[in-house]
Amino acid sequence: MAFQLPTWMALGPTLVLGLTALLLLVFDSIEPDTTNRGLLAGTAALGSLAAVGLSAWYLVAGTGEEPISLYQNTVVVDTMTLFFGLVFASVTALVVVASYDYMRDHSYQAEYYALVMLAATGMTLMAAANSLAVVFVSLELSSLPSFALVAILKKNRGSVEAGLKYFLIGALSSAIFVYGVSLVYGVTGSLLLPEVASGVADTNLTGVLGIGVMMILGGFAYKTASVPFHFWAPEAYEGAPAPVAAFLSSASKAAGFAVAFRVLTVAFPVEELVTGAAGSVDWVLAAQILAVVTMTLGNFAAATQDEVKRMLAYSSIGHAGYVLIALASLSGGSDQFVLAGGMAHLLVYGFMNTGAFLFIALAEYWSVGRTFEDYNGLATKAPFASVAMTVFLFSLAGLPPFGGFMSKYFLFAGAVRAGFWWLAAIGAINSALSLYYYSRVVKAIWIEDPSGDFDIESKPVGLYTAIVAAAVVTVLLLPGFGSVWQFATDAAAALVA
C-alpha cells in the first residue's frame, strides 16, 4: 500500500458497525417516530456493507498476517478476526436488507437497526478479544441487544416468551461464564489470554482451574447453542422475528465459535492442559462429548418437527454440533486443518442458514402458515424464491453442488485426518438423517399440491434481494471454495502454529 493506515484502523469493521449504530440512535433522537424506513435501513445496510468491504479488503491485503495487538494487547486483529468480521458483516447486511420489508409496519424502526448494529459490533469485537475481560464485555455487548431483538414484537406472545427464555438462560450462562473467568483469574492471576496460558503452565490448582475452564466452555456453549446450553435456541429462533432468528442462528453462533476457538486454543493450550503429563483439564474430551450429543440431539429433534422454522432452529443446533467437531478434533496433530474446516463451515453456514431463515421471513411476510403443510406448493407461486430455498436446504444437508457440501467435507476430513474418524462417522450419519427433514421442506415446496389458497400480493424487494444474494453466494462458494479455504487456513494458523 502507498500509505500505512494507523494501527487502530485495523479494528475498522468493528468501529464502522459501532458508529453506524450510534448514527442510527442519533437519527432516532432527532426524529423519534420516524417513518423513513429507507433512510434507517439504508444507513444500516451501508454501514454493514462498509464493514464487509473493509474486512474483505484487509483480508485480501493481508492485514492480519502479522497479528496487530491493540490496547495493551487486550485486543488482537489477525486473519481470524477479519475472516469472522467478514462473516458477521455479511450476515448483518443480509438481515438488514431483509428487515426493510419484514419490519415495515413496526414502530421502533431506529432502535431495531441500532440494536442489530450493536450486536454486530459486539460479535466483531468477540472475534478480536484477546483478554477474558474483553471477551465477557463483547459477549454481553452482543447478547443484550439480542435479548431485546428477540422480544421486540412486544404484542406477540411468542416473541416475548422467546425473549424471556433467551434472556433467563443467557443470564444464567453468562453468570456461569464470569464465575469461571474469576476462577481462572484466581489460578493464573491474569485475564490476558497469553498470560493465562503461561499461568496455566505452572499451576497445581488443577481442580479450580478445571472448573473455571469448564464454566467458560459453558459460556461458549450457550453462545453457540450447544447442548446442554441450547435450551433457549429452539424457542428463541421460533419466537423471534425471522430476520432476528437468522441473525442469531448464523452470526451469533459464529461469534461464539470465534471467541471459543481463540480462548480455548490460546489461553488453555491443548499440549498444557489436555495432553500434559500432570493432572489435566481435558476440555477436548468435553468438546467431543458436547459435539456428539449436540449434533445427534439437534438432528433427531429436527427430524420430527411440524414447523419449518423450529426445524431450522434444531438444525442449527445440529450444525453447532458439526462445528464443535473442530474443537473436539484438536490434539489430533492436524489442528490447523480442523480449525480451518470449522471456520470455513461457519462462513458457508452464515450464508445458507441466513438465507433459509430469510425465506421463512418471506413466508411470514406473506403470512403463509408455519407448518410444512402450509408451505405446500409454494414453488408454483414463487419459483425463484423456492429455487433459492432448495439451494439453502440441500446445502445445509451437505449435498453437492453447494458450498455446504465442501465445508462439511473438509470439516469431517479434518476430523478423520486427526484420527477422530468416529466423530466424522457420527457426523456423517447425522447429516444423512438431516437430509430427510430438509428434503421434507423441498417436498412441500415443490411436490405437494398447494393446499392453503393464500395468494402473494407483492414481491418484497428487500427480502428477495437478500435471499437471492445469499443463494448466489451459497452456490458460488463451491467453485470459489479455494480462496475461502486459503483464508480459513491462515486464520487457523494464527491460533495454532
Binding site: P400, P401, F405, R417
Partner: protein
C-alpha cells in the same frame, strides 16, 4: 474442452428451458438436447484413446485437468476425460435423453418447462458422472443426479410418488454417504503417497500397495472395510439384491421418461462406479472374495427374475427384470477376464438401450390404455401393431435373442466368467438360467396383453400411438439390433479400456 462444452451446453439448455413457457418447453428441450447428442457422436467419431483412464500408461480422450481447491493433501482438481469405458456411456446418455424427451411429449401435461429443464439438468449431471476423473468432482456430479431425480419422480409421478421419491432420495443418499466414507478412509489410509483426490493417482497408489494403516486399523482390514463400504454404497444404485427395494417403487411411480433415464442410465452409474472404484482400485480384495460377490450377482439375477415373474404390473415386471439384468454385470465384473469385464461394460450399454426401450413401449401402451395391469388388457396387437411389434422385438432382445445387443453382452459375460474363479462354473450356469426365467415372464406377459381378443376398458377408441411416441421406439430397436450385429462398435474400445484390468495370470478366458 469438449466435455466442458458438452456439460455447459446442456446446463445452459436446462436453464433456457426452465425459463421457457410451458407450451414450447417440450419441443425446445428436444431440439436443444440434439446439441449434446450430436456433440457426443462427434466425440465418438473423433475418439482417440487407449488404456484405462485410472491406470498408468493410458491415453485419454478430451482430457482436461487443472487445480480447483488447493488444500494441502486434499487438493481438488477439475479433471475430466474419456476412455473406452466412459465413451459408450456418454453416448448412451445423450441418445437416451433425447429419446426420453421425445417420449415425454404425450404423458407430461403440467409444469412442462420445469420438467424438461430438470431432465436436461439430469443429463448434464450424468455426463459429468461418466467423465469426471477427480473423485470430488465425480462425487459432486454423482449427487447432483439425485436432486432432479427426486423432484421428477415426486412431482410428475404416480399416486404414491411422494413415498417413492423420498425413499429413493434418502436411500441412495445414505448409500453414497457410506461409499463416500469408505473411499475417503482409503485416501487417508494412503497418507502422503497421494496429494489430491485425483482418481488415477489414487488408483495407481492403491494398486502399488501404498495403503498404510489408518489409526488403529491395519492396511488389510482397511482395504476390506473400504471395499465393503463402497460395494454396499454402489450396490444400492445398481441395485443388487437385497438393496433393491427402492427401485420398483421408484419405477412404478416415475413417469415414463424418468423411468427410461432411471433404468437406462442411472443404474449404470452404480456398475460404472463399481468398475471404476472397487474393481479397479482394490482388485485383490475383489478377486479373493469373488465367490461371495458372484453369489450376490447370481441371487440378483435369479431372485430378480422370480420377482418379475410374480408381478402383474408391466412396469414392475420390467423394473424387476432390470435388477436381474444388472446382476449379469456384477458377474462379468468379478470375473476379471477380458470377456467378463468387457461384456459387463457392454451390458451396461445394451441394457441401457433395451430397458429404455421396454419402459418406453410400456409407457406408450399406458398412454393409450391408461392401465399397466396385465390383467386389464389383451389383444393390443390388433390395435397398435407397430408399438406391439417393437415391444415384442424389445422383449426378445431382453431374452437375449442373438443378433441383438443383449445377447452379445450376456454371451461375453458368460464366456468371461465361466471358469474364471473358484466355483465360477456353477455360478455362471446358475446365472444363465436367468435367460429361461426372463423368457418365461416376458412371454406370459406378452401373451396376456398383446394377443387374444382386444379387451381394454376405455371410454374412447384405442388407436395406434402418435408418431413422436413410436419414432423413439423404432430408433432404439434399430440401435439394439445394430449393436447386436456388430458389437465392435463399442466393444473394441471397451476391451481396450478393460484389458489393463485383467490380470495376466487368471483363470477363464
Amino acid at each position: 474442452m469438449w466435455i466442458e462444452a458438452l456439460i455447459a451446453v446442456t446446463l445452459a439448455s436446462a436453464a433456457a428451458v426452465f425459463l421457457a413457457p410451458n407450451k414450447v418447453a417440450g419441443k425446445l428441450a428436444f431440439a436443444l438436447s440434439l446439441l449434446p447428442l450430436v456433440g457426443s457422436l462427434w466425440m465418438y467419431s473423433t475418439y482417440e484413446a487407449s488404456g484405462n483412464a485410472l491406470l498408468a500408461g493410458s491415453e485419454l480422450a478430451f482430457e482436461t485437468n487443472f487445480d480447483w481447491v488447493v488444500a494441502g493433501p486434499y487438493s481438488l482438481s477439475w479433471h475430466v476425460g474419456l476412455d473406452g469405458i466412459s465413451m459408450p456411456l456418454i453416448a448412451l446418455t445423450t441418445v437416451l435423453t433425447s429419446l426420453a424427451l421425445l417420449a415425454s411429449w404425450t404423458p407430461i401435461d403440467e409444469r412442462q418447462s420445469q420438467f424438461y429443464g430438470l431432465m436436461l439438468f439430469l443429463e448434464a449431471s450424468l455426463l459429468g458422472v461418466f467423465s469426471a476423473l477427480d473423485f470430488f468432482l465425480w462425487f459432486v456430479f454423482w449427487e447432483m443426479v439425485l436432486v432432479p431425480m427426486y423432484v421428477l419422480i415426486g412431482v410428475w409421478g404416480g399416486p404414491r410418488r411422494k413415498y417413492a421419491a423420498i425413499k429413493m432420495f434418502v436411500y441412495t443418499n445414505i448409500a453414497s454417504l457410506v461409499m463416500f466414507i469408505g473411499f475417503i478412509a482409503l485416501v487417508f489410509g494412503l497418507g502422503d503417497s497421494v496429494t489430491s483426490l485425483d482418481m488415477p493417482a489414487i488408483a495407481q497408489a492403491l494398486r502399488a500397495g501404498e495403503l498404510g494403516s489408518l489409526g488403529p486399523v491395519g492396511a488389510g482390514t482397511l482395504k476390506v472395510a473400504a471395499f465393503v463400504a463402497m460395494f454396499a454404497g454402489f450396490a444400492v444404485k445398481v441395485p443388487v439384491v437385497p438393496f433393491h427395494t427402492w427401485l420398483p417403487d421408484a419405477h412404478v411411480e416415475a413417469p415414463t421418461p424418468v423411468s427410461i433415464m432411471l433404468a437406462g442410465v442411472l443404474l449404470k452409474m452404480g456398475t460404472y462406479a463399481l468398475l471404476r472404484f472397487n474393481f479397479t482400485m482394490l482388485p485383490e480384495v475383489a478377486q479373493n472374495n469373488a465367490p461371495i460377490i458372484a453369489l450376490f450377482a447370481v441371487v440378483s439375477v435369479i431372485y430378480g427374475a422370480m420377482l418379475a415373474l410374480a408381478q402383474s404390473d408391466l412396469k414392475r415386471i420390467v423394473a424387476y427384470s432390470s435388477v436381474s439384468s444388472m446382476g449379469y454385470v456384477i458377474l462379468g465384473l468379478v470375473a476379471y477376464t477380458l470377456y467378463g469385464m468387457g461384456g459387463a461394460t457392454f451390458q451396461m450399454v445394451a441394457h441401457g438401450l433395451i430397458s429404455g426401450l421396454m419402459f418406453m413401449s410400456v409407457g406408450v401402451i399406458y398412454n393409450t390404455t391408461h392401465t399397466r395391469m396385465v390383467s386389464d388388457m389383451s389383444g393390443l396387437a390388433s390395435k397398435m401393431p407397430i408399438t406391439v411389434a417393437v415391444f415384442v422385438a424389445g422383449a426378445f432382445g431382453y431374452m437375449g435373442l442373438p443378433l441383438m445387443a443383449g445377447f452379445a453382452a450376456e454371451l461375453f459375460i458368460f464366456l468371461g466368467s465361466f471358469g474364471a474363479f473358484a466355483g465360477s462354473v456353477w455360478f455362471t450356469a446358475a446365472a444363465m438360467f436367468g435367460i429361461v426365467v426372463v423368457a418365461g415372464y416376458l412371454l406370459f406377459a406378452m401373451q396376456r396383453t398383446l394377443f387374444g381378443d382386444f379387451e381394454v376398458e376405455t371410454d374412447y377408441e384405442v388407436g395406434p400411438a402418435a408418431f413422436h411416441d413410436v419414432a423413439p421406439l423404432v430408433v432404439l430397436i434399430l440401435l439394439v439390433i445394430l449393436l447386436g450385429v456388430d458389437p465392435s462398435i463399442f466393444y473394441d474400445m471397451i476391451q481396450n479400456a478393460v484389458d489393463p484390468l485383467v490380470p495376466a495370470t487368471g483363470g477363464g478366458v
